[in-house]
């Protein structure tokens, strides 16, 4: 059981971390585009 939990937790953390990183970079890119439009 502990091995299974460790593996699922590790995989979940890696995938969730990547999705959070994508969301944060997408927000920054949108902000860039907005600043261009407003400049």
């Amino acid at each position: 059981m502990p091995y299974m939990i460790a593996a699922y937790a590790a995989a979940g953390t890696i995938y969730a971390g990547y999705l959070i990183s994508l969301a944060s970079r997408a927000r920054a890119a949108r902000r860039d585009a907005e600043e261009f439009r407003n400049a």
């Binding site: 059981m1 091995y3 299974m4 460790a6 593996a7 699922y8 590790a10 995989a11 890696i14 995938y15 990547y18 999705l19 994508l22 970079r25 997408a26 920054a28 890119a29 949108r30 902000r31 860039d32 585009a33 600043e35 261009f36 400049a39």
Partner: protein, 242 residues
């Protein structure tokens, strides 16, 4: 485009939830390894998505080398970087979940087995690819990365066939499908596996679509920045997004 991604996200979450139910609840507990065998349901699908991404990266890189002067140049380059990044994330999951499973099944975290070693080399090659893209100057980076990607893909068949060689005697198990009579999976385990294979494939496509969209936006921002600087208009202080 945004609607299609939203629909894909909803379908992926639903299939993934069903897949996790199949993996953690519905599938029977394996006799010798116990619950640790359930790592199989995330380990193998993640490896499959990594292979799929590296295959797409190869196709996109070849397409970029052929069509880089046309309107497809930026699109194929965006697809190449998206698939490389998602591929390396999935490969990382494979390299993390594998040793945890190995500790239970073999009694060691790591063995310098042919399959494990070639997978680690694959991960290092695509890490080098991403570092080349991140740290080289903007102009030549896509071309150099595309050339590197074509050579990087050469390792993928080695990883795939590593456990299929006739004289293979490593720790990693041989493939459970297409490996002769009296081989294969229990029907309940096979069902959980294929549901997760579909779920992870959808998840992989979703991550690629999101990363591709981000890269296209970044390319458009870079083009606008260049156009402004050529026009001599002062550009606002913009944060570089990679």
């Amino acid at each position: 485009m945004k609607n299609k991604i939203s629909i894909l996200a909803v379908v992926t979450i639903a299939v993934m939830a069903f897949g996790m139910y199949q993996a953690l609840v519905a599938a029977p507990t394996e006799r010798t390894m116990g619950d640790a065998q359930r790592i199989f349901y995330i380990h193998v699908p993640s490896a499959w998505v990594a292979f799929m991404c590296f295959g797409l990266n190869f196709i996109a890189s070849v397409a970029y080398l052929i069509k880089r002067e046309s309107i497809w140049g930026d699109r194929t380059d965006a697809l190449a970087i998206a698939t490389a990044e998602v591929g390396i994330i999935c490969c990382t999951v494979v390299l993390v979940t594998g040793p945890i499973w190995a500790r239970k099944a073999w009694g060691v975290w790591w063995a310098w087995d042919l399959r494990l070693t070639t997978t680690l080399v694959l991960w290092l090659i695509y890490l080098a690819y991403l570092m080349l893209r991140r740290f080289s100057s903007e102009g030549r980076a896509p071309l150099m990365a595309a050339v590197l990607a074509v050579f990087s893909f050469a390792d993928v068949p080695f990883v795939w066939f590593a456990i299929r060689f006739r004289d293979y005697r490593g720790n990693h198990p041989k493939p459970v499908f297409g490996n002769g009579p009296n081989q294969g999976l229990h029907p309940a385990i096979a069902k959980a596996f294929f549901v997760n294979l579909i779920a992870f494939t959808l998840f992989g496509v979703l991550m690629i679509a999101l990363r591709y969209g981000l890269e296209r936006r970044r390319q458009q921002n870079a083009e606008r920045r260049l156009a402004r600087s050529i026009e001599g208009v002062a550009t606002p202080e913009l944060q570089e997004v990679r």
